[in-house]
């Protein structure tokens, strides 16, 4: 149901959730920043000349991002089949569309950089820790383990991507930065959905925190190794590296899943 704007904050929670989980909300949201941006970039944005070493680093980084997006695409689409209710299935369908777009624009950027058959080679160039994380997440999906899959995908993976993209776009060339900026806007929805859906579940099932802490502990070495490699790849100064994991750690703390 679409509500009039009025004083937005006076709405009831149920009506708010009903609207923001809808396909209509998604469509009107993405229209604002994707219209007129083929492959996520304005047609007037110039093609920068990159030095060979910088180009090689960018190709490796974008290949890692492709693995993250492919994982989320396969994860979110698989989760629709065992999501707990209709609103969640519809939200996940919008996330599937987002993730598919992300993969497509990243592959397009790789092609712009002169990578031949980008789709065939990105997994070989990607970060090995993220590849291991991908296997674990998709195993939760195959097992239809809703809580673990939602936590691994919409809290951990999305927070990793959000932090990596936000950090990277500060130093990226204009076309890559614009593309990542658009992807970040989608990631806000995915992160928020994951934390809020888990938060509502844990409020009525507090014992499930124990299970999610186990999931967290088993995945965390891969998460931090991926964060560390991503920070090195985008040239983040050592002093700023702890900041890249802050979004994820803050979310885990709010959910009561800290150590």
């Amino acid at each position: 149901m679409t509500l009039e704007a009025g004083e937005l904050h006076e709405r009831d929670h149920e009506g708010f959730l009903s609207e923001v989980h809808s396909f209509e909300f998604w469509f009107q949201s993405v229209e604002g920043y994707l219209h007129g941006h083929p492959h996520g970039v304005s047609p007037s944005t110039p093609f920068p000349e990159l030095a060979p070493d910088r180009r090689a680093a960018l190709v490796a980084t974008l290949s890692t991002y492709c693995v993250g997006e492919l994982t989320a695409l396969e994860g979110a689409s698989g989760m629709i089949g065992f999501a707990p209710n209709r609103a969640t299935k519809i939200f996940l369908a919008t996330q599937v569309a987002d993730e598919a777009r992300h993969l497509e624009v990243l592959l397009h950027r790789l092609a712009e950089l002169g990578v031949e058959d980008a789709e065939a080679g990105f997994e070989a160039r990607a970060n090995r820790h993220l590849m291991a994380f991908r296997e674990r997440l998709l195993a939760y999906v195959v097992e239809k383990d809703w809580l673990a899959a939602l936590f691994a995908q919409n809290v951990i993976l999305e927070a990793m991507e959000f932090a990596a993209f936000q950090t990277h776009l500060r130093t990226a060339d204009a076309r890559t930065a614009e593309l990542l900026g658009g992807v970040l806007k989608d990631e806000r929805r995915h992160i928020g959905f994951g934390e809020n859906a888990l938060g509502r579940h844990l409020a009525s099932h507090p014992d499930d925190r124990r299970r999610l802490r186990e999931v967290r502990q088993s995945l965390e070495p891969l998460v931090f190794a991926t964060f560390e490699d991503a920070a090195l790849q985008v040239g983040l100064p050592a002093a700023e590296r702890p900041e890249i994991a802050r979004l994820y750690l803050d979310s885990v703390a709010r959910l009561g899943l800290g150590t």
């Binding site: 009039e4 923001v20 604002g32 992160i191 934390e195 809020n196």
Partner: protein
Amino acid sequence: MREPLLASADFDPAEDAGARDGAARSERRRFVLLDDTGFDEVPAKYRRFYRRWRGPGDVLAENEVLCPVCRVVIRSARELRPGDRVYCMPCMSRLEVVRGEAGRLEAIVRY
């Protein structure tokens, strides 16, 4: 000449001052949210309720609070106070306004 009220045996100056303070506290500043903040991540009719956060040096107005989940500034048509509820549409969170340790207004998630 004494004020008529002061002549009353029931008059309590402290109580009167408290009542005036209470009235002042209950009056909230209203804000007209007509400006385009450039925020484009929600449907057009809701964009005025949000703006981008400009980093640690960003000063929040009396009707603004920062979303701790996605770091977007949430705006209200009225001055915000502890206990108020706001929604962050970009990340779909329900938040409660609280007074933080530093004395500033902050938001915490209410799942």
